[in-house]
Symmetry: none
Subunit: 137 residues, 2 copies
DNA sequence: CTTGACCCTGTACCTTGGTACAGGGTCTAT
DNA sequence: ATAGACCCTGTACCAAGGTACAGGGTCAAG
């Protein structure tokens, strides 16, 4: 298998070469071996790893969290359960956000309707949207 | 009602005084009146506004977006139609955010279900799923 | 009336997740 | 052998959203 240059890797994954080097600096990918010229030589594995990073990002994981996922994976003392728990934490974050946004959506919808109907408007009705937790769905 | 100092306000909301001043600079809260000494004098209203800002942040709104949300209200210079239009813009933002989060939720839920939790990380379906791109989804 | 906690302005710095040079060296096609 | 595309390191920069001084003034308790 041919070694890939950083440009090829970046192109395949759809990121800039700077981003690949940035991930290396951040420890998300390990420094690859170098050719005579000092050029980085990557294998296909790295492409997979980079895709993993991109995909995890879209699920709301920060680079730090992604780094942890990748570390866990290569740590023989951890189990699948560790990964699962992290996914669960992330899921509950996401569910919380959805709830809050639904409240916001309701208030905005109401605002639009009231406005159309010439209804009374409080000084700053939007503030009610996120009023104290649990104090009304 | 006693005027609140910036420290009292910050304490009540659970942010630093620097943050309150930062929001003032960013236009999220308006410059309050000042006492003889030049100290800022706040009313309870400001506490509510700051709490809104904090909650909206956890929902993924940027400070800029939060400023726009807070602007959706009646004042002498805005018409009902104005409010309606701005509320509609924000409503569609909110719906978009919900959609994105639901996609994340779905993927995470599926991954968590597929993972029995008892295997080694080397065979974790969550990690495997993150490896492949898209997987026809 | 002093001490310490608080406030003021202004500026510098931090983190996250990159992006953009500058000033080189290398590789490849012609 | 030379142009142009690529690679290298290093540093600076960007936006967002703060956080931390420095160097002052003020307020309230003992």
């Amino acid at each position: 298998m041919q070694a890939l240059t950083i440009g090829k890797v970046a192109e395949r994954v759809g990121v800039g070469v700077e981003t690949v080097r940035f991930y290396e600096r951040k420890g998300l990918i390990k420094p690859p071996r170098r050719g005579e010229s000092g050029y980085r030589q990557y294998s296909e594995d790295l492409v997979a790893r980079l895709r993993f990073i991109q995909r995890a990002k879209t699920l709301g994981f920060s680079l730090k969290e992604i780094g942890e996922l990748l570390d866990i994976r290569h740590d023989p003392t951890t189990t699948c359960r560790d990964i699962q728990r992290r996914a669960e934490v992330k899921l509950s974050d996401v569910e919380e956000k959805i709830k809050g946004l639904r409240r916001m959506s309701k208030v905005l919808t109401k605002l639009i309707a009231e406005c159309a109907g010439d209804g009374p408007t409080s000084a700053c009705p939007i503030l009610e949207a996120l009023d104290v937790e649990g104090e009304k769905g």
